[in-house]
Symmetry: C2
Subunit: 303 residues, 2 copies
């Protein structure tokens, strides 16, 4: 059912390079800088959106959509929309009043390279761009598909998803959360958008909601595994390799999977979740190999 | 064609009170506070969205939609979505790194009442809420209508609309803009969203794009008149009446309609624009009286 690891890994390396190139090219085309006083805002959006990040969310869209025969251009537009949401959240999260980070993907954060006000507006503009991309007929000729994409992304990124999780993350600095609450925090903060990526790939593929259950299971498991590995990287990691500051959670006094479970149990848990994620794909053949490889990649990465 | 001023004014007073009550009630219902660590974020969203503002944008949606027989519930949801965008932009604009305002609608701004990080997230969450509301089938059973609403609002609020105008406004502090550039700045910063309100009312009313030309003309004229009056209030106004700080543009060295035209010519221009806005409605009878009254209100208000 599953290819040999070497093959799978080669497939993933190729696909990661391809999606990174495609997403960069897409944002480069969409965000061409006008010759007017808005130029600085476009430059800031480009700084944030081009040339950085693993592009996991677009690859999840693409990998899921391709299983159901969706064309690459549609999947790329949807992937870019989710990535625009992810990137806006990073730009705002890096602000001095939030996490106050100077380094992101190995380069200066937007507020450092530009200024705080421009970073706020660049985040807001990327946020609007995401819905602009989804609503455009180029994404899908079918308005049912487009509006379902908008609903899914709005729900996953707002107060009931990512933004709600970020609020919990701020509260975590002053309250001691138990494992259940940390799990909920991470499901909202990171899991909701990763889940939306898989869900939106399935929407493009015209899978009815009841046919998406196993894919939601896959997404939930890799989302949690992803965050446990993030905690492990923050706990043990190398800032140069991570391309961002590490060791911050302990300094902020936050409970994480590592502080609650210990590093060894946390690592075991991440591997178990990935096995479980892969088991959700049992009904699929080779067409799901990229999703399987992505699940493995999430626990094997070191940044 | 136009009713006596006294009647029109009574109509407007009633409608302004009604829309303010309805929008407050709507946000109160949508933003009920959960008993979990996200409660603080909901409280901040409520602080920003409930109990303040003239609700001009929702009233523009409502007034336009009612001309074409649209039910009040649909129009209210669309009005709340635009208002959520307007409110998020105020929350972010008031941040210390932006305009650094402590007072809005006569009460403490969100970052003062809560903190800067919560204000960033409350703005982001209201932003996502706007698209969540539009995409919901309760707004319209027709996905064509919903996706056209999403497209219109995303375009009006992003880098090609409101956010682009806000960037120009920041640049205006260090560059001297001429009248043409100030006009463009204001068309983006304020006009785009006011125009979207009228446009979205017409979309709900299923007017084809070619049938909306006169309404776009109306919206463009009142948008510009609105901003000229804002400049006059900032120039001459009373902070207690305005419910926000005044005299800020001159202090920041920004060119405004008042600095470029002088107060008298600016006021004449605003009245001329309102006459022109009303003339765009000549093809309509009494059903456009509320839009006419709104246009007059924009130049007659003192805050």
């Amino acid at each position: 059912m599953v290819d040999a690891p070497a093959t799978r890994s080669d497939l993933l390396v190729d696909e990661l390079e391809r999606i990174a190139r495609d997403i960069d090219g897409f944002f480069d085309a969409v965000l061409s800088v006008p010759d007017d006083p808005r130029a600085r805002l476009y430059e800031a959006m480009r700084h944030a959106a081009i040339g950085g990040g693993k592009r996991l969310r677009p690859l999840l869209v693409m990998a899921t959509a391709e299983m159901f025969g969706v064309g690459r251009e549609s999947a790329l537009r949807v992937g870019a929309a989710i990535e625009a949401i992810h990137v806006y959240s990073l730009v705002h999260d890096d602000l001095p009043c939030m996490d106050d980070d100077a380094l992101r993907h190995g380069k200066a954060t937007v507020h450092v390279a530009f200024d705080d006000a421009t970073a706020v507006l660049a985040g807001d503009s990327l946020h609007a761009l995401a819905f602009d991309l989804l609503a455009d007929p180029a994404t899908s000729a079918d308005p049912f598909v487009r509006i379902e994409l908008v609903r899914t992304l709005a729900a996953a990124s707002g107060v009931q998803g990512m933004a709600g999780g970020q609020m919990m993350d701020i509260v975590a600095e002053t309250r001691t959360f138990d494992l259940q609450t940390v799990t909920r925090l991470q499901q909202l903060k990171t899991g909701a958008l990763l889940g939306a990526a898989v869900e939106m790939g399935a929407i493009l593929g015209r899978l009815p909601p009841e046919g998406r259950t196993h894919l939601r299971g896959y997404a939930r498991d890799i989302g949690l595994a992803f965050q446990i590995v993030d905690d492990l990287i923050d706990h043990e990691g190398d800032a140069a390799l991570a391309g961002k500051a590490v060791g911050k959670d302990a300094a902020a006094g936050k409970q994480t999977f590592v502080s609650l479970l210990g590093a060894d149990r946390a690592r075991d848990q991440a591997f178990a979740l990935v096995d479980q994620a892969v088991s959700h794909l049992a009904q699929h053949g080779a067409e799901a190999d990229l999703l399987r490889a992505l699940a493995r990649f999430i626990v094997e990465r070191d940044h």
